[in-house]
Subunit: 227 residues, 2 copies
Amino acid sequence: MENTPLSHTEQNYIKAIFKVQELTRAEAVATNDIAERLQTQPATVTDMIKRLAEKKIVTYKKYYGVRLTAKGEKIALDIIRKHRLWEVFLVSKLHFKWDEVHVIAEQLEHIHSDELIARLDDFLGHPKFDPHGDAIPDKHGNMSHSNAVPLNTMGKKQSGVFCGVANHEDRFLQYLDSLDLHLGATIYIESVNAYDASCKVKINNTHSEFFSPQIASCILVKPLYGK
Amino acid sequence: MENTPLSHTEQNYIKAIFKVQELTRAEAVATNDIAERLQTQPATVTDMIKRLAEKKIVTYKKYYGVRLTAKGEKIALDIIRKHRLWEVFLVSKLHFKWDEVHVIAEQLEHIHSDELIARLDDFLGHPKFDPHGDAIPDKHGNMSHSNAVPLNTMGKKQSGVFCGVANHEDRFLQYLDSLDLHLGATIYIESVNAYDASCKVKINNTHSEFFSPQIASCILVKPLYGK
DNA sequence: TTCATTTTTTAGACCTGTCTAAAAATTTGT
DNA sequence: ACAAATTTTTAGACAGGTCTAAAAAATGAA
């Protein structure tokens, strides 16, 4: 029951397993997928998994895969909480752009201090979402989930409020910036191409843009009804 | 000329060498002193010193000692800059007390991002001193030095503004807090005991306190003339 | 179902940072 | 100035985290 603080590396593995688990929605997470995500070798992953299993952070069955335990999930959510709170800090206080904060937050998320995070959360006004619209878990690991849907699931003449992205690549975020499309913007669907589902939208009632289905699927909106 | 980013550990050694160098004001720094400061074994220090010497961060002569090169000193000052800026952040934005920030800043100082530090510095309004009154080096490594002197070097009926401490132990800082003695306070020396040099002072013209010479020597003040 | 392919694990090695024990150099006391 | 004490370095070991190469298990295709 002793609690050696987790190393930077262990935390990265836990986060990776959490992400893969979330993405694949499968019973167990494959060694190769973790290795891919961490840009490391499968053999290395196997070693680390064994250590994590000993610490009861994951359950592990050889040749089958790995899953986070409740304890492991809590740790992952803690790290994600820190990461996202720091991102809010970087954007709203230090005026970084949303495509610049990830690498810095990756470092900040490993700082050990519950008190620090509690106070940072206070300082930021208890934000519920990070600069990309991702929900910030509270200290118990609970997060509010928005009723956001990808833009491409909405029909012609409907509007929604831009509230998240399903693609966090810098280039994508920069592209949205170049369109003056920021979180909170209202997006109205002027038309949808019946053949390939690309769409023409009006942003904040000021300017129109075309989105391929691929792009539209990465833009998450909260649908607006009425009007 | 390649620049592998320095590890957390290497940075800690550099900082320790800098501190010992500053303290002992000697030609070269002894292995044992570094080991003492880092609470590690001399043998370990020798190993690390050899690595640092290869990277041209220190000059090293066996059985003689070690010194930071100009490059090493710049690195040390960078780390100290980060440490102190983060301390300002923790105290002035997150409302930590001055005795609570050291351990957290020890972690934060290792975050790699020049842009982050530049923006943090902006955000904090380019502070010149940290919450303990220690000067914050600018990005070139220059720091303003206050004309502060230990309280015990001042005479009867003189006053000064409290602007730093020569002892950073939590308990000492908490003791000063308990006296309502914070940076910026005016200290007036009512009397000095001729035998042991202990003194009676008046703080902010509101309350009197007694200081042993030992305590007085850890209280740094900027002398006030005239009045 | 059985052989080929893919995935995963094991084995053995390396590097960093640490330790202890012992050897070497330096300093010190008389 | 020399023996004793101290300081510093070397040698050898170990743990965490990584790698490559090879073995083992699982999967899939004919």
